[in-house]
Symmetry: C2
């Protein structure tokens, strides 16, 4: 794992090294999905995260409506809160707008954002608006809380714990493929699912909060860059390896219709915003009994291992292969 | 004031109107320099702000070193905290980087930011790194605290209060003029002062905290877009007008040497990051006696008025003229 660490991850490590001593009110700093703060005297932990969406990197003009962009830029941040089990409370938005996008565009953007915000209980508390000479930039900062101080970290996993994901993997990437093919309107249910996952992802906030409070989960993160890029981060923090059962992955089989490899998308497709978490073997029965049916289905996809490598194989008798980190890394090409 | 409201301010008003009921832990939402939160059970108020710096809008490549950009992007946010009297505690950074800016650039940027952060007591707790196809974007979110729950708002002013500013006005704009003239290295002390104000502004954090705790100040904000753009915001929130004494402004006279009008820069030049605040007449003596000498000098520049217009005149007998809002507004041109 260590040898395969990507360039983006190396930058984060550099920052962690130089960041010095944490002040007492900072429980977790750089390196997890979000930072964790304990205001003096407060009952609750606060969780802070920030995410950037840039034109022609994270989206193309025309592929998403302003309202969808508002939804998605908030969703990416709320997913980081969900990843730790924090309940969304507040958010800020900094918008850099190219000429040509006026007040009507801005109003739609904020409406789309507000619909998701209202549904998940977070309030817009501030922001910044600027003209941009170079494309559209959206930067959101989200603040969540854990009133019972029960959060999950990437670092809590142990060898032997069983790995689970929520929902379906590769759905958002299948939607991206549709957009790249110029198919911006869905003709059938699979296309609708894929486009909706790509444009209006649903962050797993209540599921994340439940998992954190359950006491049955050892570590958690969200899948934003793809399983093959994110799993090494979970393993690095938990100081484990992992074995993935390739034939157990909850893939989106319909994407073969538009030329995708569902298993490759499940491994390497980004933006699913599903949760990846580990359940200690001793908690498995209790977990299966307690996990609420109203939440998205969860699937076991493998286990954490003592040996610090990432492998994948088909169960029961497939041969183990090393898992290459092919998920999205902004900086790999500059390596 | 209401009629002159700028386009950027109209957007902010629209958002305030549609933002609905504030949750109980949100003390101040959209519209001040920063939002104010009260975590449940906490002793301290928390203050959150965000600011965007975009290439070719807020800076040009080559005019500022990576370390200076790191410094300035944090400084702009800390100034918003200073504007309310909050002590800086934590910050996040989202960076969109064009190809060509590699790990060395990133390391210098963070070093410059860290020097200021260490000096003012704030800790980097997270961020996002992304490749950008369109110029450099920097988005910072800063979190401050008020341990004694003493903050100042734009809205606290009353007619008759005396208006003050810290430091010198127009210094950063004079530095910008030098850069536009291609004079990126200072040949003398005035040029050094101006370039340093433009590139490495010093947010007035300890001054702001002192002013908020003093009990002698009624309202406060920071000057980021220029007096003529920011004063109407203070007046709108305090429901007053203002009269400015043009010949009392602490202008930067040396800028005439490079073709500037010091009074125009003091009114309309942005990025000074000085504090604008009001002292009730009854507190003036106490204020003058108590204001610490180690802090930047303060100058009375006018007063708040009952009549809700902004005027300026030379004291004692100059004729009053309406003050046009000519400071920086990202959106005026699209009106």
């Amino acid at each position: 794992v260590t040898a395969d660490i990507s360039s983006e991850d190396r930058i984060v490590r550099l920052l962690r090294k130089t960041s010095g001593q944490n002040p007492s009110s900072l429980k977790v700093g750089i390196g997890d999905d979000a930072a964790v703060l304990l205001p003096r005297g407060a009952d609750e932990l606060w969780v802070v995260t920030t995410d950037l969406l840039l034109e022609d990197i994270d989206f193309r003009g025309g592929w998403l409506s302003p309202a969808q962009l508002g939804h998605k830029s908030l969703a990416a941040n709320l997913s980081d809160l969900a990843a730790m089990g924090a309940r969304p409370r507040f958010h800020t938005v900094a918008l850099g707008l190219p000429r040509g996008l006026g007040e009507r565009w801005i109003a739609s953007f904020y409406q789309g954002m507000k619909r998701l915000a209202d549904a998940l209980g977070t309030t817009l508390i501030g922001g910044d608006l600027s003209r941009s000479e170079h494309g559209l930039h959206i930067s959101v900062c989200a603040i969540g809380e854990s009133s019972r101080r029960k959060l999950l970290y990437r670092s809590g996993g142990n060898a032997g714990d069983l790995l689970f994901v929520t929902g379906t993997l590769g759905l958002a990437a299948a939607g991206l493929k549709l957009l790249e093919l110029g198919r911006t309107h869905a003709d059938n249910e699979p296309e609708r699912l894929a486009l909706s996952a790509q444009r209006e992802p649903a962050p797993r906030c209540s599921t994340g909060t439940w998992l954190a409070r359950s006491g049955l989960v050892s570590c958690m993160m969200d899948l934003s860059d793809g399983l093959s890029a994110d799993l090494p981060r979970l393993c690095a923090e938990s100081r484990t390896g992992a074995e993935i059962y390739s034939n157990w992955l909850p893939v989106f089989g319909d994407s073969v219709r538009w030329g995708c490899d569902p298993v490759a998308l499940a491994f390497h497709g980004g933006e699913d915003f599903e949760l990846l978490f580990a359940v200690p073997r001793s908690c498995l029965c209790a977990f299966n009994a307690a996990y609420p049916r109203r939440f998205p289905p969860v699937t076991q996809i493998g286990r954490l291992t003592r040996k610090r490598v990432l492998t994948c194989r088909a169960r029961p008798r497939g041969e183990a292969r090393l898992l290459p980190p092919l998920g999205f890394d902004h900086f790999r090409k500059t390596k």
